[in-house]
Every structure is written in C-alpha cells, then in structure tokens.
Symmetry: C2
Subunit: 567 residues, 2 copies
C-alpha cells in the first residue's frame, strides 16, 4: 500500500507567528458561530445537544491533518443532519439499538466508506453526480428542514421526514401551540433574519469598517441567543411550557464504541453510503469554490481521506456524521483563516465550551435554535439553478424537478437515488441516438459534408454515413436501425462506408452490432467498409473477429474509399 499523505506538513513547515495570528482571529469568530450551530444541528438530527459539540472537536482536528483544503471547516451540517435523522429513525424504531448509538455507527460506516473510496482513489465519483441534481436535492432538503423546525418554533410535537408527513402532523397538533414558545421563536426568527439582511449595511453606515461591521453582524446570532436565554431564565419560561436545551453533560466526550451487529449495519449501509457521497460532493464543491479564490488545488482523493478521518473520529468520540459546511467555511475564509490551524484552534474553543459553558446553555430555548436553523437553511434554497435549468435545457430541468419532488414527497434517500439515476438515464437517453450524417463530396475538394446541409456530390452505388459519436451499448441498436432505414430509402447501393473520424471507442455491444450490420448487409450483397478509423479504435478492432468477417475494407481516408468504390 502506498504511504498515506499528510497534507498538513505543507503548511506546518512554513508556519509562523503572523499566520498564527490570522488563524486565531478566524478561530474565535468561527467558534462563537459554531457553538449554537452545533447544538442546533444535533437537535435537527434528533440527538442530545452535547453530540453536536462532540462532533465539532475531534473531526475538525482529523480533517486538519488529512484534508487537502486549507480553509474548509468540517462539522455537523444541515443536510447531513437531516439524512442522519432519517436513517437513524428507521433503525432505532426497530428497537435493537438506541438512537445515539445508531448515529455514531452511521458516522463509523460513512467514515469507512470514505476512507475505502479514498484508498481506491475513487475521487472521480463526484463527477457522476450532476451538479444541478445535487443542488435540487439540497433545495428540497432545505425546505424539509425549515418546515420540520416549525414544530419547535410553535412548541408542538410534529414529527415527519417528508412534506406530507410534516403537513399532516403540523395540521393535527397546531392547536396545542405554546404561545410563549411561539413568541420566543418568532422574535428570534425575525431578529436573525433582519440582522442577516441589514445589520452589516447599517453598521457600515454608522461609520464602522467593513471588517468590523461584518464581524459584528456575524455575531448577531450570539446576541439573539444570549438575549433569549436571559429572557427564558428571567421570566422562568420553563414553567410556562417552553422547551429548553436543559442539562448538557459537562466535560469532554468519552471514547464511544459504535454498535457492530450485522443486521444493524445492513440497515445503515445504504444511508451511510448516501451520506458519504452527498457529504463528499458538497464538501469538495465548497473546497473548490474557496480554493479557486486563493489558487489552491483541492485533491478529491485526499478529500475522501480527510472527510473519512473526520467521520471516524466523530464515531469514536460520541459524535455523528460530519462534512465540510458551506456557511462555516465561508465565515472561516472571510475571517482570514490561512491554514487548518484555525480549525484546530476552533476545536479547542468548542472543547472549552463543552467543559465550561454548558451550565449557561441550560436556559437556551429550543425555539431559538430552531430559528437559527431556519435562517441557515434558507440560504440552501437555490431557485436560481432551477430557473437556469428551465431556460437552458428541459432535460436537466426534468432531472432537478424529479429530484426535488421525490425528496419532498418520499424523503431524502429516495430523492437522492432518483436524482442520480435520472441524470444518468437522461444522459444515456441523449447519447442513444448519436449524431450522424449521410455525407457526399464537396465538389472540387476531398472533403465530405452532410448532404442535408451542403451542396455535395454523391454516388448511386455508395452510401457514406459519418457517425459523430463513440459507439457503445446504448446506441448500438440505433446503428443497426440507421443502416437499415437509410438503405431502404435507396436503390442500387453496393457499398456502405461508415466514416468514423469522431468515434473514440467501440465497445463490445457496438462491435456485435457492427458484426450484425455486416452480415445482414452481406445477405443483401452489400459490402460494409470503414474509413478514417482512429488509431486506438483500430487497435481494438484488430483484436476482434470483425475485420476478418468484414465484407469490405478499412480505408485510412474516406476519399480514397470513394475513389475506389464509386462507379
């Protein structure tokens, strides 16, 4: 096995005081933002709040060592937390395992899958997921997450993982709304939304510097959280039925052991794979976006190792599945983080919070956390790509629409599987009818062009077909049909010449189709010839029986074929 790469050496070697200063400032800002966010995503995943903190300590350090991006910030993120809730809900209901253990087991499996893919250098799998489809999936997940948080804001019990489930449970329990909870939740939502939109601009107008006003605006959620905690404490909202975060065990995470039993693993394997893939694709896309701004290269295979290590360490320290998050990474980047040391400092900050801050968090209302989630996921909802797809290409739009509708109505797992299948199926469907042209000689030249578009010369006993795509299983049947159809429209054809300058590959199915075409032509006393076959394709054909069976010949040049065969 090849030696495992540690990208952290690259920056550790040149680490100096100045870089450390930048990294410390960034870490402070990110830590303040991450404490409530970690609690909120644990809540979203249906897990105890401390698990959110645990998932933001060791995983950050693991990624700092193994990951290839210098500014990516890893931890619990919204979509992966929703996927965790869905997967864990299924197993935990069946009762053989408790909810929290199932979540750590899921992190273990995702981590193993990521590391395995990394060792096999399967970073290219990101290419299989069409970006519009992933964006559609995230939009739909964002909608489900936002709606699922309404129950916390209204102070009701309304579980559900799909739009119909949520609508039904909201409709039946909306009558039990707790007005105090709704008051807290709605005010937080309003304050967060307003500060997000307008605070930074307002502060700048008041004469603050760009950096100061943006940093202060970013700290607004902390103010909202502090305020609502104080209100909950002062007005004794717990007595009025407002759900609070409550007791969080103080201290560092203990070593946790995921649950290893085949029946549970079997059930969690597919969700773990989907979480690994979606997490990976999202993380790489965030990493690439940030990397492009600083001319940093993101190595997809190394990212698999980094995210794998993060998830494995999350599994063994009482966390749940993590990945590189968009908003946290942007904050980290904008706050001036230079290297992954910022993530290590952030992890230390979160660890301090887990040690000393948890008693204060007792009075934090869950409705406040729900409000922060709603505001955070509203940025995931991306109507722009959908609109662009509608304008640009209806097939892409269809794939996105299928993904969004199935995610909303049947859940995240079916949604993402259908999305990937739809984009692959659409692509295959598109290449199933390869572009082709019947060609003739441009008078006075040796060039051949489409007879439908140019004024060219053809010969009565020749049919020249130029195929403009590689031949493979999905378009092999079309080839047979094409020759049949074109031949049926013409009288007196003795030779069919397939001109192959754009054929980069002929797979075995297409080879069989060519053999069929050849023998069916021979039965009709027509000879099949090939012209302008590319080098690598010709090498492959030489290993097949086709060249022996061929009724005609293979010509290097189409014009040479026509000169020899035309009467």
């Amino acid at each position: 096995m090849r030696v495992i790469k540690l990208p952290c050496w690259d920056w550790l070697r040149h680490y100096n005081r100045q870089t450390m200063g930048s990294d410390l400032v960034a870490a402070l800002i990110v830590t303040i933002m991450l404490i409530p966010q970690s609690l909120a995503y644990a809540l979203l995943a249906g897990l105890p709040p401390e698990m959110g903190l645990y998932a933001s300590i060791l995983p950050l350090m693991a990624y700092a060592i193994f990951g290839s991006s210098r500014t990516l910030s890893v931890g619990p993120v919204a979509v992966v937390s929703l996927m965790t809730a869905t997967a864990v809900g299924k197993v935990a209901q069946q009762g053989s395992i408790d909810y929290a253990t199932a979540a750590t087991t899921l992190a273990l499996l995702s981590g193993l899958i990521l590391v395995l893919l990394g060792l096999m250098r399967f970073g290219f799998v990101t290419n299989f997921l069409s970006h519009p489809v992933v964006s559609g999936f995230i939009t739909a997940s964002g909608i489900i997450i936002a709606i699922s948080q309404l129950s916390h804001i209204f102070g009701i019990e309304a579980p559900g993982k799909t739009l119909p489930e949520l609508a039904q449970s909201l409709a039946t329990t909306i009558g039990t709304t707790n007005v105090y909870t709704l008051g807290i939740g709605a005010s937080c939502l309003l304050l967060l939304q307003l500060s997000r939109r307008h605070l930074s601009g307002l502060l700048k107008q008041c004469g603050l510097s760009l950096f100061a006003s943006e940093t202060l605006a970013r700290a607004a959620p902390v103010a909202v959280i502090t305020l609502s905690t104080l209100v909950a404490y002062g007005a004794d909202l717990q007595a009025r039925g407002v759900a609070l975060v409550g007791t969080i065990p103080q201290g560092m995470p203990a070593f946790s052991q995921p649950y290893i039993e085949w029946t549970v693993i079997e059930e969690l394997l597919l969700p773990a794979l989907l979480i690994a893939l979606i997490g990976f694709v999202e993380s790489v896309s965030v990493g690439r976006t940030l990397g492009a701004k600083r001319r940093e290269r993101i190595d997809a295979n190394q990212e698999l190792m980094g995210l794998g290590a993060a998830n494995l360490s999350s599994a063994f320290s009482g966390g749940f599945p993590v990945t590189g998050g968009f908003s946290r990474s942007v904050v980290n980047f904008d706050a001036g983080a230079q290297t992954q040391a910022a993530s290590i400092f952030t992890a230390a900050g979160i660890a301090l919070a887990a040690l000393f801050l948890t008693p204060i968090l007792y009075y934090l209302p869950k409705a406040t956390l729900a409000a922060t989630i709603v505001v955070a996921v509203s940025s995931l909802i991306d109507w722009k790509t959908i609109k662009e797809a509608w304008n640009y290409d209806r097939a892409d739009f269809m794939a996105i629409a299928i993904t969004i509708l199935l995610t909303l109505f049947l859940g995240v797992e079916i949604g993402v599987i259908s999305g990937v299948s739809a984009s692959i199926a659409l692509h295959l469907h598109r290449t199933m009818r390869p572009h082709f042209a019947i060609v003739g000689t441009v008078p006075g030249t040796e060039h051949y062009r489409n007879i439908d578009r140019h004024d060219v010369r053809t010969h009565a006993n020749l049919l020249s077909i130029r195929v403009d795509e590689s031949l493979y299983f999905a378009n092999a049947a079309f080839l047979e049909e094409l020759v049949d159809t074109e031949l049926a429209q013409r009288e007196g054809i003795e030779h069919v010449i397939l001109m192959c300058p754009a054929v980069n590959m002929i797979d075995l199915s297409a080879l069989e189709a060519l053999q069929e075409v050849n023998s069916s032509l021979l039965e009709r006393d027509v000879k099949l010839h090939l012209s302008e076959v590319k080098g690598p394709v010709m090498d492959a054909l030489k290993r097949s029986p086709l060249l022996r069976q061929l009724g005609g010949k293979v010509y290097l040049n189409h014009h040479a074929a026509v000169l020899e065969l035309a009467v």
Copy 2:
C-alpha cells in the same frame, strides 16, 4: 390515449390453407417439446407441475394477438423461472401468502410493468442493458440452474439460490442419495446429451432427409421421457423412493386471482421489474435474431405490449411469469411456423394435454425432468462472449466478470442490478476524460491538427484546444482541470480558444464548468473564446448567461479566430 395496435391483423388478413398447414406442423412439434419443458420449468420455479402447463396456454394466445414477432414462442423459460423461484421464496417464507399465489402475483406485476412501459413507449430500455452483461448474467443463471437440478438427479433435498448455498446443501445431503433416482437421472442425462449431439447426424447418415432427421432428433426427449415413465411404472420406482411428478389436476386452468396486498406487492415489485426487463431483453433479442432471417421488423414497444399481455393472462389463469424463449422459438421457426397461428395451435395442443394427458404423467420421474433442464440450460452458458470480451476490451470483461461472480455468489437479483450498474458506470468512467487535442495550423492551409501528431504552427499568445466529445456532468470537472493544466505549462497566453466541432451537447453542469473556466481565466487576464460551435449547441448557449459573461468571442471558424487573435 392512442388506439392499441393488434399486429395479428397483418397476418390474419392474408391467412390461407397453405400457411395453416405449415403452422399446424410447427405447432405439433413445439407442443410435443413443450409438454415436458413446461413441467420442468414449473419444477425449477418450485411450483406444482400443472402451473407450467397453464403458463403455456393463454399466454401464447395473448402474445399471438399483441406481439410483433411472427415466430416467437412465449412461455415459461429457464432464467425467468429461476428468478421467479428466488422472488417467490422470499415472500412465501414470510408466510403471509402461499408460494403459488405469489408466483401468479409476480406474473401480474411483471405484466403490468411491461404494459405500462409499452404505453409510455419505453422500448428503448433494452439499449440500457449492455449485451455482454446480459449474456454474463444468463451464463451465471444457467450454472446455478444446472447445479440446482443435481438434487433432483441425486434424489436429495438440497435447496439454494446461490453457488455457496447450493454447495453447502449438496455437501451435507449427498450421503442420502437415492441410487434408483440417480440411476434414472444419470441415464436420462446421458441419453439426452447424446441424442442432442449425435442423433440428427446419425439419422442423416442412415439416409433420412434433413428435416426428418432433425425432427426425429428433437422428439428424442419425448422418447426418453416415455421410456423413463414406463420404467418408473413397471419397476414400481415410487416404492423405492424415486420422486415422481404425481397427481396433476386434470382440466383447464380456473380463473385465478392474484394476491393484492401492499406489503406483498412492495416486496415483489423490484423482482417483478427485473423479471420484466430481463424477460423483455431476452425476448426481443430472440425475436430480432429470427426476424432478421425473414426481413421482419420487431417493434420493441409492441413487444412490451405482447409480453405484458402474455404475463397478465398467465396471472389470471394460474400461471407464472413467461417470456419469449430461445430454444422453443428456434424449434418453432425451424419447423416452419409462418405466423402466430402456430402458437395458437400449440396452446390448443397444451390445453388438450392438460385435459387428457395428465394421468399418464403421474409416473414421470422428477429426475427425468431435471435432466431435461440441465441439458436445456447447458446451451445458455456462453463462454464465447466472455472470451471475446477478454480479447477485445478489458472494461467490458470486468463488467461481465462482476455480473457473473455476483450472480453466482449473491444471487440473480443482486447479479443483474450490479451488472447493469457496472456497465453504465464503466461507460461514464470512459467518457469522463473526453478525447481532446491541443491544435495548431497545418502550414499553408486553414486546417488545425493535434500538435502531438502533426508538424503544425502555433502562436505564443494562443492556446487552441479541440474537445472531441459532448460536454456533460461526467466530464465537466475534467474540462476545468484540462484548461488549468495546459495553461500552467505555457507562458504568455492571452487567449484560450475551445474548438467545438465535435461537441453535440453541453448540459447544465458543463455550462457551469465553462462559466467557471471563463471567470477563472478572466482573473488571470486571459480571454476564453469558442469556435466552430454546432448549431443546436449555439441555440442552447444563447439561452444561457455564458455568452454575456464570456471574456472573448464565438467564432464560426477556428482559422478566423486565430487570424484575429494571434500576434
């Protein structure tokens, strides 16, 4: 909805006495062959023997009315029977439904799926299944079927649906072999194999005509069956523990009602889909092979309707999933069948057998039926395609090897799903790195060729890249990388020109990649231009923001771009 087509009108209009004569002879030969084969495949599917007969009456008539092939013979076939056994075994074990009812329900679901696909004109789905993969799947199924029949030949109980299961159960029960059963089974196997290989040749040497010797050779199984039935009766083999077919209810099938309950249907839906697809692909390929010999066109969409109708009628007359079989269709064709009337006569023949022949079949040893199955499936095993794939293309070989190994070791369902996934993944992987070339001017011309292969002229401030494939999600990332890499190797580039004469499509993911390339080039003060963009691609680009954002221009002709931009 469009009117449902009845292809049978085409031949019914011209039907005459002579055609009827040919069809009657073919029907007689096929009927004689089908009686034992139907019983045998019912045995293979784990069903009572009469269901094999029932599946060979109405389904033949339904296909005759709706199918588009004139000579295809529909009924129970080996691979579909094995898939039925696998699917039904899972549901029936769970106890909510009996084995036979599950099989008719499976036929119902397959039929509905086929008709639905037919109404949506989804005949193109055959193109998604790479032929080598299907052939690998059938080879592996054939091996499993042959081994599974050994238990009947040895007279032991050795259930199993995969190679390891079969090996284990054979190893533990081989000690209980019944020598009389083994005697009957092994002799039948030997006789069948010998007559299949040599009888027709032998008879020809004795001076019989080709037709007579082939027909007699084909009747050999009937002789073997008659002989073993007589031996079983005369020597009272039942008393010696030889398993016989036993009582078959006499008469025509009653109207049967499949079991409609959501939990069962949910469980059977995927197997029904796989059976529908594999059955359809096999049937169409048989139909096309025979059709090519008589210049008959097989319409894939109409075939979906024909096979759908056959399965629905099987479901309502106590049968199980059916499809067009290779050996039975070849026999039908070679025996001179002209139209589907031959199938209707065959159905009548089987009906007569169900009415009057069943008492005679009481003494037929199951070992004899098992022997006929082993001999029949030995023709399914196709090492040739595997060898060809090995020689021709290692990627195709890998897909076949994965399919065969997974089918053998994990069962038919996982096998076929993995096979299809593997062939699609391999194809995408191949197109992920599209063919491209850095091009320069062929001196004294306006032609542009690969700088690595030709002696061409380039310009210091220009980078001309010709992309030879459509751009879509799987190769979009590659495009960004390509431009980056090539640019990094050169100094002083001011313009990158993408030459797109072979780009037939740019999907939304690739469009986003182009936008990325454009803006990252702009940051480096390099302009991106496009040249020789095809008409439909240009139309699509005009609906996108790319053309507005583009740093450079779009040129109709690459040479014009170079003339304008080179310094």
